[in-house]
């Protein structure tokens, strides 16, 4: 298949790049680069280290024991092919080519023993270190890519908040009320014309309850204003509340004769059903 395509290409494409006198179709088979796909493969490598790794992996050799001669040769063939199609990319590849050639030449020479421990230094050591680090990062990159990613593999939940529906109301605490009352009393003391009475709030509460009960009802029998379930204390407070309401002229209490039913009526004329149309 590859050869067929290559042959066809050769037929219609007279300026196919040539390497060492041979057309691209004759590239080493282990590179597996169909000539028509060369540009795609050029882009497929992320750089000289990536290409080197590919060549090492393809040859299935130990990265710690790189056969420099064949690797360098393959690499140069590739760079040559690349140089002819994509000059821009070539600089880094050429730098690597120079490094490979340098390592290869040093391998041919006897290795000088290291000064400290006498162990001979392998000229490939630095290259291997870089290759291993790059390979580690390359694998890590693909592992990171496999992690589920927000907006790609899952979505954040963010439900609409109906902000505009509920108006934010001021919060009032008991402390606020205390402070407000305190400042009022201060003013009252300064003006000294308003006497602040001390009294039980529970009486006030019953007063309001009775007023609400009388609302819109006209005369109500006195006994009906008392809730016997409230207990003795409740009854006493209710009674005090009615007296206070009468004193403040908020209710009218009537009794036609002694021992007759006592009626209580709101002093508010609008509460008199008889007066309402």
């Amino acid at each position: 298949m590859t050869e067929a395509v290559a042959a066809a290409n050769e037929a219609v494409e007279p300026h196919l790049p040539k390497i060492y006198g041979e057309t691209m179709a004759a590239l080493p088979r282990d590179l597996y680069i169909p000539p028509d796909a060369l540009e795609i493969y050029l882009d497929a490598f992320e750089g000289p280290l990536d290409l080197l790794l590919y060549l090492i992996r393809k040859a299935n050799v130990n990265i710690l024991d790189i056969p420099m001669a064949p690797l360098t040769a393959q690499y140069l063939e590739y760079v040559e092919a690349m140089r002819k199609t994509n000059l821009e990319l070539a600089a880094e590849y050429l730098l690597m080519a120079a490094m490979l050639l340098e390592i290869k030449s040093r391998m041919l020479l006897p290795r000088p023993p290291k000064a400290d421990n006498g162990e001979p230094e392998d000229p490939r050591a630095e290259l291997v270190r870089r290759l291993l680090e790059y390979e580690r990062m390359k694998l890590a990159a693909s592992k990171i890519d496999e992690l589920p990613q927000a907006n790609r593999d899952y979505e954040w939940v963010s439900v609409w908040v109906t902000d505009q529906v509920a108006e934010r109301l001021p919060e009032v605490t008991l402390h606020d009320l205390q402070v407000a009352w305190l400042s009022l009393m201060k003013q009252a003391r300064i003006h000294a014309h308003h006497k602040v009475r001390r009294e039980e709030l529970s009486v006030r509460e019953y007063m309001i309850a009775i007023l609400r009960r009388l609302q819109g009802r006209g005369y109500v029998v006195f006994e009906d204003l008392f809730d016997t379930a409230a207990g003795v204390a409740g009854l006493v407070v209710s009674f005090l509340a009615v007296l206070e309401l009468a004193r403040e002229k908020l209710v009218e209490i009537t009794q036609s004769e002694a021992l007759a039913p006592i009626y209580v009526k709101s002093a508010d004329v609008s509460d008199d059903p008889a007066l309402q149309a």
């Binding site: 529906v165 309001i208 007023l211 908020l250 609008s270």
Partner: protein
């Protein structure tokens, strides 16, 4: 991708899509979710079913002009507001004092409030408190002009966490605090008079 078999499976996908949607989802859009084609009645049943599932939660499924979406129930707004850093709005001093007078002296007319405060009460203050549902008119005084009498409501107690009016801070204690403040003031004129009572009141 997981396989959908039961109606429940479809509902879960629908719920998920609606929970992450950035805007109301028209039915036509939701239909893209499934390979299977359902008629509008089936869709309606599915959506109604989902809405019922959320009936007692802080979020509800609603149908708007532009489609379906999940949104918070206004009753839960108060809690969500606590997560915002902005400070809650506050009532004016006039509103707070008016509220305090109504709470401690109910039933009172506007005239009573003005007597105690020594200044006119803006109708807006009473309207605000009435709109909040904290005060209402419980009657009218049998006097010239038949002034309305204001009292606090059950909602006022609920909102302030009180079971009855008698749980309001007793006035006697407030007065004691004030006496203390005045004594302190006499002793040390430099003391900040606003600070002291507030602190003492908190301890009370």
């Amino acid at each position: 991708m997981i396989q959908l078999y039961k109606p429940e499976d479809f509902k879960i996908v629908l719920e998920t899509a609606l929970l992450v949607a950035n805007e109301p989802m028209p039915l036509a859009e939701l239909k893209k979710l499934f390979d299977q084609e359902f008629d509008d009645d089936t869709w309606r049943t599915l959506l109604d079913d989902l809405r019922r599932d959320w009936a007692n939660r802080g979020v509800e499924l609603v149908q708007l002009a532009t489609g379906w979406r999940f949104q918070t129930r206004p009753e839960y707004q108060g809690f969500l507001d606590r997560l915002k850093n902005e400070r809650p709005p506050r009532y004016s001093r006039a509103a707070l004092e008016t509220l305090a007078i109504i709470a401690y002296r109910q039933p009172v007319s506007r005239g009573d409030i003005e007597d105690i405060r020594g200044v006119a009460v803006s109708p807006n203050v009473l309207k605000t408190l009435e709109a909040r549902g904290w005060i209402d008119v419980v009657g009218h005084r049998d006097a010239p002009g038949r002034p309305a009498l204001y009292a606090t409501t059950k909602k006022f107690l609920d909102d302030l966490g009180l079971r009855s009016l008698s749980e309001l801070p007793p006035l006697t204690e407030i007065e004691r605090v004030m006496d203390l403040a005045e004594q302190t003031k006499q002793i040390n004129e430099d003391a900040a008079p606003q600070e002291q009572p507030a602190e003492a009141a908190e301890q009370a």
